[in-house]
Symmetry: C2
Subunit: 344 residues, 2 copies
């Protein structure tokens, strides 16, 4: 998280907006809360240029509950999934409780090293929606051009939300767990098109219906107040720093620094993702041996470069360079990579 | 929330436990997180004397998602509900998606002014569980003696959790949204008996199965880290202040101060709840006219006594005197009530 934001939250932790109360104790039915809630929606709309025909909602349960909810609401006949790794795979499994699921495309056979190309897409007759994951944290791949379909398109943007501008109108439903770029784990932002909402299943408990969140402005029950407040702070911070175009520019430069260290290593470091599918959020790579990878992670920690170990399901190394990581941080990692290479 | 806890959270907001990172950014796969997670479970077990055959889990989605989950997991034939107000009513409605629901007892016809007596209970053959709400925030009633049944007993303790000792072994499943006495909105604590878990429906998406949370120690997906951390702080604060027996003692005294002001007013203030069903968390009362109630709320605000307006569904006045409210705060309210009465 940006240090400026953390300091602001700390500063006003005992007195939210002159209420004399902490943000963790104000009522979600108070004007002070509602003003902040409204402003957060306003700021998200501004940053992503979200048109009026889309509603913005806040939910709980993480991306994992969305794996359930998107299908509970919209899977009537069949759902098509672009399988780019663990997250889309989990979404497909959870969705299978509500109807037929199938792969529109997949890079599974190639260890999820790339984002499938449109020419490989196969959408079956009667498909309710196509579902995709914009960034794959574990394998380090990311969509750089979003596809279009004749059926509604859903996108899990949990791990690159607010890291770049996105044309929201290309999608019918976007959701993002906030814990990577936007705030503390515990809230999910949903952006949902009005026309899609009409197609939702209604024989469903209220808490599992998107409609409930839209109709009650996300306060049917107590919303995750602190998390939404944090989103508010991050949105203002982004806005003050040039918005999403500037963020994308910075993120491109940051990623280029780390991928540069891989590409200039003559194969000592090998990237997991194919070049045109490389993620700007998660750089995944291997060293010649597991032994060297262990040593790399240990020595990195000695330089205060932490969290560099790959996801337990894939192994190897991974540098997560979300919005709050600075260019200096990326340069420090690249320098360390070069020095480590020279030593071994 | 206790001021001591708020200050502690503020103090260490930029550096959690020497990690150099904020609690809102540490990985839930880190040792620093896991240690805190384990300690929170240990502290809950200690405070409530929870035996080993019960698991303690953390979930998201508030009490409202529990209205869905308890039935999704355990309603096979029929579920019996003790209807004591809005919350049990909502639980029953959500549960009806999964099977038959019926009222074991209800105080609805009497405007939920009391907690039903055991002699009025009617449990049908083939009932999977009986469900109850320990404290009713809107109507201001609370169970002072818990009932027992031949079938598993479930209890929503969201609004009086950790306000008093509870014999956990009387229940098969307890859950509590943490936002009243224990922490910021966004986490639910579940206490679930192993033998009950065996009876759970398994044809259900993983995120809706209690089993998933138990088997993965609540980290199948990213848990609400900040909220759990806050629970940890509150548990230590309670432990440092004599535990739940001391808390109950204080809460009894606090409630006596406010109810005293009602009872000594010769009917100027009239309590909504019958005497033997009075809540120690939410004191609900009316004044002779709506006009006077409005004036009461306005003048109270002038004395910095806020949040005294009754729930929008019931009207009147309500003093919520959760754990963090002090005896002095209650005395201040009682004094104001006396002064207001004398004036009008």
């Amino acid at each position: 998280m940006p240090l400026d934001v953390l300091k602001q939250v700390q500063d006003e932790f005992l007195d939210f907006n002159g209420t004399g109360m902490s943000i963790v104790e104000i009522s979600h039915r108070s004007t002070a809360y509602q003003d902040m809630h409204d402003d957060t929606i306003y700021m998200l709309r501004k940053l992503l240029q979200i048109p009026e025909q889309y509603d913005i909602i806040f939910m709980q349960g993480g991306g994992s509950l969305q794996f359930v909810m998107h299908a509970a609401n919209f899977l009537h006949h069949s759902g098509g999934y672009i399988n780019t790794g663990v997250w889309s795979d989990k979404a497909m499994k959870a969705a299978s409780f509500y109807g037929k699921v199938y792969e529109v495309a997949s890079s599974k056979e190639d260890h999820f090293t790339y984002i499938p190309k449109p020419e490989s897409f196969h959408v079956e007759e009667g498909t309710d929606y196509v579902y995709m994951t914009s960034n794959n944290t574990i394998h380090g791949t990311e969509w750089h051009h979003f596809p279009s379909f004749d059926v509604p398109l859903f996108c899990d943007m949990s791990s690159d939300f607010l890291s770049r501008p996105v044309d929201v109108t290309n999608f019918d439903f976007i959701y993002a767990g906030i814990q990577k770029n936007v705030g503390p784990a515990g809230a999910v932002i949903g952006i949902i098109k009005d026309s899609l909402l009409q197609k939702a299943r209604t024989k469903l408990p209220l808490m599992l219906q998107y409609k409930t969140y839209v109709e009650h402005d996300s306060t049917y029950n107590t919303p995750p107040v602190f998390n939404i407040y944090f989103v508010n702070k991050v949105c203002h911070w982004l806005d003050d720093h040039g918005g999403l175009a500037a963020m994308e520019d910075t993120n491109k430069k940051k990623a280029a620094i780390v991928y540069g260290a891989i590409d200039e290593s003559n194969g000592f470091y090998s990237g997991h993702a194919q070049r045109d599918s490389r993620s700007r959020m998660n750089v995944t790579f291997n060293l010649p041996t597991e032994e060297l990878e262990k040593q790399f992670i240990t020595e990195a920690a000695g330089q205060h470069i932490i969290g560099i170990k790959g996801h337990r399901s894939l192994g190897g190394c991974r540098a997560s360079i979300y919005n709050a990581v600075t260019s200096e941080g990326c340069q420090k990692l690249a320098d360390f990579m070069k020095a480590f290479h020279q030593k071994h």
